[in-house]
């Protein structure tokens, strides 16, 4: 159980050893007062994933400027924001359309560093994220927890081009230094984006966030969404987001991204790593507080499906994204057909990987089926993390690795059943390939 609490007031900007501080450079109270509510009460709307993500950032009073560059399937995020802003003459919010993704990332650095108390967000996909890479690495190390880069998953293996949902983009950026959170379904997209800055801007974390969702499968899928009143969102976020302990460039005389020698570089990386590790303590607390405020599950390491209290199951499935829902839909019927107990984890926190929580959940499983959805020459990104998490157990469960849905390919019920059969073979002690591909109910 986490002992993390909301940051304790008062926290205020301190002058740097070398300089002055200009606390009035940005008057946060004026920014807050200028916010025009999107929703004045809880409502239900029918929207797709990109719209859910756009509404969430529009409702934050700290989110004033939206830099962006369109790329399928994330384009509708910036389009929705631009459209809503154009519809509201009273708003001070602005879209900043830039010439390319690298420029967007650079803009995020400059803006977020200028005022660490405002939130700066963009959305991108696939090679758009790759194009940002030079700067995302800097961002990851920057302590700019007020940056939120929404990644709408799309394959990065661009020969051939494919625009559909595949997490190879986010998984290629595991070590950029972002807190990576996978979401599935409209509600989880919206709720996660509301919580992400609370996590990233926490003084013990100060790390940018990268919430993400599957392109097309979630970005373009419409379903009902419960939206909260802006004021309720502000009350929740204000409880977590306090004045950053570091001065922004505007209100403090500081430099950013200085050059150091090897004498110090490792020290900075260790410090960055420790901040990232703190996510494992802060995230459950933010999630619990969100649930207290809104009555829906908040941030968590993973979603759990079908676990008995004693935790012993024949097959444990580890996956991520909306296709996990198809497994949920057929889990019970497969249990009855196979006479086995089957449960599952849909991963939400990808970086830092919550190894200890995963190990505790899986340690009593007979076999673990890990379903990977991104190109990998080994057993799969997710498989490696799960195997690593289980490696300290004296008798770890057997891990069966599968690939399905690359490039956003459909993961049909028949494919899920075939993968579960593969896990069943593993549970019986039969030989299974270290990693196998499945599609339309058959191995490839």
């Amino acid at each position: 159980m986490s002992t993390i609490e909301r940051p304790v007031l008062p926290l205020a900007h301190e002058p740097t050893p070398s300089g002055e501080i200009y606390p009035d450079a940005i008057d946060l109270e004026r920014v807050r007062a200028a916010h025009v509510d999107q929703f004045t009460q809880r409502e239900q709307v029918t929207v797709d994933g990109n719209t859910a993500a756009a509404l969430a950032v529009l409702q934050m009073w700290r989110c004033l400027i939206y830099p962006g560059f369109p790329i399928t399937p994330s384009t509708k995020w910036i389009e929705t924001i631009a459209s809503k802003i154009a519809d509201e003459p009273r708003t001070k919010k602005k879209v900043k359309l830039l010439e390319a993704e690298h420029a967007v990332a650079d803009y995020l650095v400059g803006a977020a560093a200028a005022c660490r108390d405002l939130i700066f967000s963009t959305a991108t996909s696939s090679v758009g994220l790759d194009h940002m890479t030079e700067t995302t690495r800097s961002l990851g190390a920057s302590g700019l927890g007020n940056v939120m880069l929404i990644d709408v998953y799309r394959a990065t293996a661009n020969f051939p081009l494919c625009i559909e949902g595949d997490p190879s983009d986010t998984l290629a950026h595991r070590d950029d230094g972002f807190i990576q959170i996978c979401t599935r379904g409209k509600q989880q997209i919206y709720d996660t984006i509301l919580q992400a800055p609370c996590l990233g801007m926490h003084p013990e974390v100060l790390t940018p966030t990268m919430p993400g969702y599957y392109g097309i499968k979630d970005s373009h899928r419409s379903a009902r969404l419960t939206v909260e009143a802006d004021k309720a969102i502000h009350a929740f976020q204000d409880g977590w987001i306090q004045p950053c302990p570091l001065p922004g460039l505007i209100n403090g005389d500081t430099a950013f991204g200085n050059c150091v020698t090897s004498k110090h570089f490792q020290g900075f990386k260790l410090s960055q790593r420790r901040r990232m590790e703190n996510v494992l303590r802060v995230l459950p607390a933010v999630g619990a507080d969100f649930e207290k405020h809104f009555g829906r599950p908040g941030l968590a390491f993973f979603d759990e499906v079908g676990w008995p209290e004693h935790g012993s199951v024949d097959i444990a499935v580890v996956g991520m994204g909306p296709d996990f829902g198809t497994f949920e839909a057929l889990r019970e019927s497969f249990e009855q057909y196979a006479g086995l107990q089957v449960a599952g984890l849909a991963m939400r926190l990808l970086t830092p990987f919550p190894s200890e929580a995963v190990r505790r959940r899986l340690e009593k499983a007979q076999v673990v089926l890990v379903v990977n959805q991104a190109h990998h020459y080994g057993r799969g990104h997710l498989t490696l993390d799960v195997v690593d998490a289980l490696s300290t157990l004296p008798h770890p469960p057997r891990v069966v690795s599968a690939f399905a849905g690359l490039g956003g390919a459909d993961v049909s019920e028949a494919t899920w059943e075939r993968m579960l059969e593969q896990a069943r073979a593993g549970e019986d002690g039969r030989h299974v390939e270290p990693a196998a591909f499945f599609h339309e109910g058959r191995p490839l």
């Binding site: 029918t46 459209s83 097309i216 379903a223 839909a329 339309e440």
Partner: protein, 326 residues
């Protein structure tokens, strides 16, 4: 064969709908509008999403929908739909729009043909609903787009709502998209004009096992790095990208072609037919539209004499069936 009661399926299970159409043909708007309408009932769960690629306007696309009084977790594509919608008849050349539909299912087609003709041509067993949406679009929206009509036909069989609510919900969806008032009024007229044109019948024209999905046979040998010949169009019927209901026509009764060759240079498919001409250098004599013309409109735009135009065209069926259903 018993015709499936769609509203009952929603109450007791998951109703699954699939639509086939062309990018730019209005399929997505029809599905989104239907989802908006169904979601007005707070007790109903709706999930709606498209399948399309990076291809251009006119490429084949699909839309999917699940509707239920129970929470929906399944995210896979709909492969055994209770309702199959064909928005553009030319899309049926790419895919079997009825694939996976069980006998007793419902088929909704945007076509000027009768339910009987469609049941026979596509070998359908179940309730067949037709609506001449492109005609309605041409009359009220100045464009052969049948999504308004298909929406009305689908809403009537799926949603438990009065006509006025069906209309209002569609208008609300358009308003959210900032559609100008003048076009809103045209859409309203198209909605109302559709109702008396919807035709329906129950037929049993599918042979046993018809519309069964073929088993996945693997990917076979694929070109390294997806490298292909530049003129992929020579093996790819790019005419299938054209919207159904219209075709390109070249007409030069006054022998007005100047031989400027703008059409020849600008046609991406190289399908302008011409011959040498002593006076003009060359003279355009026609255009081969059946296989490669995707109606990009380049020739129409560049011809100084306005010799190219789009004309109405009825989708050709290879074999015309005699309508003799019992």
């Amino acid at each position: 064969m018993r015709v499936l009661d769609l509203k009952r399926v929603i109450q007791t299970s998951h109703l699954e709908i699939r639509g086939d159409g062309k990018a730019g043909g209005g399929l997505l708007l029809a599905f989104q509008s239907l989802a908006d309408l169904l979601a007005q009932d707070p007790g109903i769960h709706v999930q709606e999403w498209p399948f399309f690629s990076s291809a251009r306007r006119g490429a084949s696309i699909r839309s999917f929908m699940r509707v239920s009084r129970r929470p929906i977790t399944a995210a896979c594509e709909v492969t055994r739909p209770d309702v199959a919608i064909l928005m553009n008849e030319s899309a049926a050349r790419t895919w079997d729009f009825a694939e996976g539909v069980q006998p007793g299912g419902t088929y909704i087609l945007n076509t000027g043909r009768t339910p009987e003709q469609c049941a026979l041509h596509y070998r359908l067993s179940g309730r067949v609903i037709t609506v001449p949406g492109d005609d309605v679009g041409r009359e009220h929206l100045k464009h052969a787009i049948g999504n308004v009509s298909v929406y009305v036909a689908a809403a009537q069989v799926v949603a438990d709502q009065p006509l006025e609510t069906i209309f209002e919900s569609f208008m609300h969806t358009l308003e959210k998209r900032h559609v100008p008032k003048r076009i809103l009024e045209s859409n309203r007229a198209a909605l109302e004009a559709t109702v008396p044109l919807i035709r329906s019948g129950v037929f049993d024209a599918a042979a046993p096992g018809a519309h069964t999905a073929p088993p996945f046979e693997g990917y076979g040998e694929l070109p390294v790095g997806a490298q292909t010949a530049l003129r992929l169009s020579r093996t790819n019927r790019t005419a299938d990208y054209a919207p159904s209901g219209i075709r390109l026509r070249f007409e030069d009764p006054a022998d007005a072609c100047t031989g400027c060759a703008h059409c020849i240079h600008n046609c991406p498919e190289g399908i302008i037919l011409f011959q040498p001409d002593e006076e003009r250098g060359l003279k355009v004599v026609g255009v081969e539209v059946s296989t490669f013309c995707k109606l990009c409109g380049e020739c129409i735009a560049v011809c100084p004499e306005k010799l190219f135009k789009e004309v109405p065209f009825e989708e050709h069926w290879a074999e015309e069936e005699e309508v003799s259903l019992t």
